[in-house]
C-alpha cells in the first residue's frame, strides 16, 4: 500500500475528529435517556448539586455514568486487544476471544451461578479465574506444539471448545438458574458499578497502556523475527507478553459484563481500512472505535422506545457492527489485511 503521507494524515485527523464528535454525542445521549428521561440541565444538576432530586441523582451517578464508563472501558480494551491479537497471529479473523479465554470465563461464571450460596461478587472472580486458566492452558499447549501462530490458534480453539462443552453440561444441569447464566453470556452493562469499574480498570488499563506503548515494536514484529532481532527486539518474548497482557485486560472486563462479541474483531479493521495498518495509530483508535460502538449499542439496549428493553448488548454490537463491516469489506475488500 503506497498511500500518500498527506492524504494519510488527513484521513487520520478526519477519523479522530469524527470519532470524538460521535463519542461525545453518544455519551451525552446515554446519560439523558433511559427509564427516566433527563434534560441536560437535570443531568448537570444531579452531578453538581448534592441536594438535587435523590432519584435522578442515584440514576445518573449510580447507574448511567458508571455504566457508560464501563461500556467505554470494555470497548476500548476489546478494540486494542483485537488489534494486538490480529497482529500477533497475522490473522484478520482473530479476536481477543481466540485464546479460549471467553469460553473459560463463561464456564467460570456459570459455575459461580450454579454453586449454591456464593456471594454475588463470586461471578466476576470465577469468570476471571476461568478465563485466565484457559488462556494459560492454551499458551502452554501452543508452546508444547511449537507451531507458531497457527498452533496457538488451534490450541485456543481446542481449549475453548472443551470449555464450551463443559459449559453446556453446566447449563443443562442449572435448571432455573440458567437464565442468569444465559443473560451473563449475552453480555450486559445493566448492573455495572463504580466498584466494577475500578477493579476492571485497575487490571486492564496498565496492560492496555503497555500494549499501546509497544505498538511500534508490534509493527516491527510484522516484518519478521530476523528483522526484529536486528533491531534488538526479542520477538518471542514480546509476542508472549503482548498476548498475555491483552488477554488479561479483556478477561478483567468481560468477567463483569459478560461476553461482548464482535467489537474486538471489527474495531481494528474499521480503523485499518480507513487509515492503514500502522499499529501506533491503529491500536488507540481501535480502542476508541470499540468504545463508541459499545456505547451506541448500549444506548439501543437502554432505549425506552425499545419494547423488549434490556436486550443483550452483545447481540446489538453484532447487529450494528456486521452491516458496517460488510460495507467496508465490499467497498475496500482489496486493501483488506494486516
Amino acid at each position: 500500500m503506497h498511500a500518500q503521507p498527506v492524504n494519510k494524515r488527513l484521513r487520520l485527523s478526519l477519523y479522530v475528529i469524527t470519532l470524538s464528535i460521535f463519542f461525545s454525542l453518544a455519551f451525552m445521549i446515554s446519560v439523558m435517556i433511559g427509564t427516566m428521561q433527563l434534560s441536560p440541565f437535570e443531568v448537570a444538576d444531579s452531578i453538581i448539586n448534592p441536594n438535587s432530586d435523590p432519584v435522578a441523582r442515584s440514576i445518573v451517578l449510580g447507574y448511567r455514568i458508571p455504566r457508560i464508563l464501563f461500556a467505554s472501558l470494555t470497548g476500548f480494551v476489546l478494540g486494542v486487544s483485537g488489534g494486538v491479537i490480529q497482529t500477533l497471529t497475522r490473522n484478520p479473523l482473530a479476536d481477543p476471544y481466540i485464546t479460549g479465554m471467553s469460553s473459560g470465563a463463561a464456564l467460570g461464571a456459570a459455575i459461580a451461578f450454579v454453586v449454591p450460596f456464593l456471594p454475588y461478587y463470586a461471578v466476576p472472580i470465577m469468570a476471571f479465574l476461568g478465563g485466565v486458566s484457559m488462556l494459560l492452558l492454551s499458551i502452554f499447549l501452543a508452546k508444547k506444539a511449537g507451531a507458531g501462530p497457527i498452533g496457538f490458534i488451534l490450541a485456543g480453539v481446542a481449549v475453548g471448545t472443551f470449555a464450551s462443552a463443559i459449559l453446556m453440561v453446566v447449563l443443562a444441569l442449572a435448571s432455573e438458574k440458567s437464565h442468569g447464566i444465559l443473560y451473563w453470556l449475552f453480555g450486559s452493562f445493566s448492573t455495572s458499578t463504580w466498584g466494577d469499574l475500578q477493579t476492571a480498570s485497575a487490571v486492564s488499563m496498565p496492560a492496555i497502556i503497555f500494549a499501546l506503548y509497544k505498538a511500534r515494536d508490534l509493527n516491527i514484529l510484522l516484518l519478521g523475527e530476523e528483522h526484529a532481532a536486528q533491531l534488538g527486539i526479542d520477538s518471542r518474548r514480546l509476542w508472549l507478553l503482548m498476548l498475555l497482557l491483552s488477554s488479561l485486560a479483556v478477561s478483567a472486563c468481560v468477567s463483569f459484563c459478560g461476553i461482548i462479541g464482535f467489537i474486538g474483531l471489527v474495531a481494528p479493521h474499521m480503523v485499518r481500512l480507513t487509515i492503514g495498518s500502522d499499529n501506533r495509530f491503529v491500536l488507540p483508535l481501535a480502542g476508541f472505535t470499540g468504545s463508541l460502538l459499545i456505547v451506541i449499542a448500549d444506548n439501543i439496549v437502554r432505549n425506552p422506545l425499545n419494547p423488549i428493553a434490556e436486550m443483550p448488548v452483545g447481540s446489538v454490537t453484532s447487529m450494528i457492527g456486521v452491516p458496517f463491516f460488510v460495507y467496508l469489506l465490499i467497498k475496500k475488500g482489496k486493501s483488506f489485511g494486516m
Binding site: T35, G62, Y63, P116, Y183, S190, E310
Partner: protein
C-alpha cells in the same frame, strides 16, 4: 241423706272420670290412627324414594358405564378420546401432579416429572418406587413415560407440547394443559376431574380457589393499590410483566405491577426500579441462588435503592421452597398463593404481618 249425697257426688265424679277417660282413650285412638296412617304414607314415600334411588343408581351405573369413551378438547385444541377410566396416569409437571393428588388420585399416578415434590404422600410413593420419574419439565423422556404403561399422560402444553408426536407414536393418550393463567388453572381442575370421573372433587377445588380469590380481592378492594415488583432472579432482575400468570395474581391481590408496562417475563434494570419506586419487592425462587441475607444485601447495595420504599420500609420479601411453589405453580395450592400475596401486599387489610423470608413453613403464618 248425707250418704246418698255423698254416693251421688261420688257417682257424678266416677261418671266424669269415666267420661274423661273415655274421651281421652277415644282421642288417643284417633291420634294413633292418624300417626299410623302418616307412618304408612311415609313408608310408601320411603319406598318410592328407595325405588327412585335404585333407579338413579342404575342410571348412574349406566351413565358411568357409558361415560367412557370420553371425548375432550385439550389446551392445544386437540380432540382426545379417553377410552376408559384412567388408572395409570403420568404427570409432566408439578402443577398437574398436585392437581391429580388433590382430586384423590394418588394411587393412580404412576409417573411424574423430576420437579414434582408435593404433597408429602407423593414423596412417599416416589420413595417406595410406586411413582417413577420420567424426566424434567423440559426434558421429558417419552420412552420412560411409555415404560410406565400409562393409560393417560397429562403434560404442560407450552413446555412439553413438542413431545406429543413422540408420545403418540408410542400409542399413548396425551392431554396437554395450559398452566399460564388463573382461568386456565380452574379449567385444568375441571378438565382433569372430568377425565378421571372425579366430578365433585373438581367442583370443590374450583370453589375453594374462587372463594380465596373473592376473599382476598374483597379485602384489598378498600386499600389503595400497592406498587410491586415480582422477580425470580436478582441479576438481571427477571420480572413478571403484563399478561403473565403472576401479573394476574398481583392484580387479584391488590397490587400494581411496576413491570406491567411490558408483556411477558422481562428484564428490568435497577435504574427503572429506582425511578418507579415500588412499595414491595418480591423475589421468588424454588431454590435461591444465594442465602436470603445475601439477597437482601444485594438489593441494599444497588445505588439509589436506599430511597426505594420497599427497601426503606423493610418490605423486601423472599419466597422459596413451598412458599414459592404455592405461588408459581398453577395448581390447587394457588389458594395459599393468593393469600400469601394478599398478606404481603396488604398487611393492613388482613391484620397479618408475614416474615420477610417464607419457605416450607409458610402455612403456619396463613392462620387458616
Amino acid at each position: 241423706m248425707p250418704k246418698i249425697k255423698t254416693i251421688g257426688a261420688l257417682a257424678v265424679i266416677a261418671l266424669a272420670i269415666s267420661l274423661v277417660t273415655a274421651a281421652l282413650v277415644f282421642s288417643n285412638n284417633s291420634t294413633l290412627s292418624a300417626l299410623d296412617s302418616r307412618l304408612i304414607a311415609m313408608n310408601s314415600t320411603l319406598n318410592n324414594l328407595k325405588g327412585e334411588l335404585s333407579s338413579l343408581q342404575d342410571e348412574l351405573n349406566i351413565v358411568r358405564a357409558s361415560y367412557y369413551p370420553l371425548v375432550i378438547e385439550d389446551a392445544l385444541g386437540r380432540v382426545v378420546t379417553i377410552k376408559s377410566e384412567p388408572t395409570r396416569i403420568v404427570s409432566g409437571a408439578p402443577s398437574i401432579t398436585e392437581t391429580l393428588f388433590a382430586l384423590g388420585l394418588s394411587s393412580r399416578v404412576v409417573g411424574a416429572d423430576s420437579y414434582s415434590n408435593y404433597p408429602s404422600e407423593f414423596l412417599q410413593l416416589k420413595a417406595q418406587g410406586k411413582i417413577a420419574i420420567v424426566g424434567g419439565v423440559t426434558t421429558l423422556d417419552p420412552e420412560k413415560v411409555a415404560a410406565q404403561k400409562p393409560d393417560l399422560v397429562v403434560i404442560d402444553a407450552s413446555l412439553q407440547g413438542k413431545f406429543i408426536p413422540a408420545l403418540e407414536s408410542l400409542g399413548l393418550t396425551v392431554v396437554a394443559l395450559d398452566t399460564k393463567s388463573v382461568e386456565s388453572a380452574k379449567s385444568n381442575f375441571q378438565l382433569l376431574a372430568k377425565i378421571t370421573y372425579k366430578l365433585s372433587e373438581g367442583v370443590r377445588i374450583v370453589d375453594r380457589l374462587n372463594t380465596a380469590i373473592q376473599n382476598v380481592s374483597g379485602k384489598v378492594s378498600g386499600s389503595s393499590p400497592t406498587k410491586v415488583l415480582f422477580v425470580v432472579w436478582h441479576d438481571p432482575m427477571y420480572a413478571a410483566g403484563n399478561g403473565t400468570y403472576l401479573g394476574e395474581l398481583i392484580s387479584i391481590a391488590g397490587g400494581v405491577n411496576i413491570a406491567g408496562n411490558r408483556t411477558g417475563w422481562v428484564v428490568v434494570n435497577p435504574e427503572q426500579v429506582v425511578a418507579a419506586n415500588p412499595d414491595v419487592l418480591i423475589m421468588s425462587s424454588m431454590s435461591l441462588p444465594m442465602n436470603p441475607e445475601q439477597i437482601f444485601a444485594y438489593f441494599r447495595s444497588l445505588p439509589g435503592f436506599e430511597n426505594v420504599n420497599a427497601v426503606r420500609n423493610n418490605r423486601v420479601y423472599i419466597l422459596t421452597e413451598d412458599a414459592s411453589n404455592a405461588l408459581e405453580r398453577a395448581g390447587p395450592r394457588l389458594v395459599d398463593g393468593v393469600y400469601i400475596l394478599g398478606y404481603i401486599l396488604h398487611p393492613e387489610a388482613f391484620k397479618v404481618q408475614l416474615p420477610n423470608v417464607l419457605a416450607g413453613n409458610y402455612t403456619s403464618y396463613l392462620g387458616r
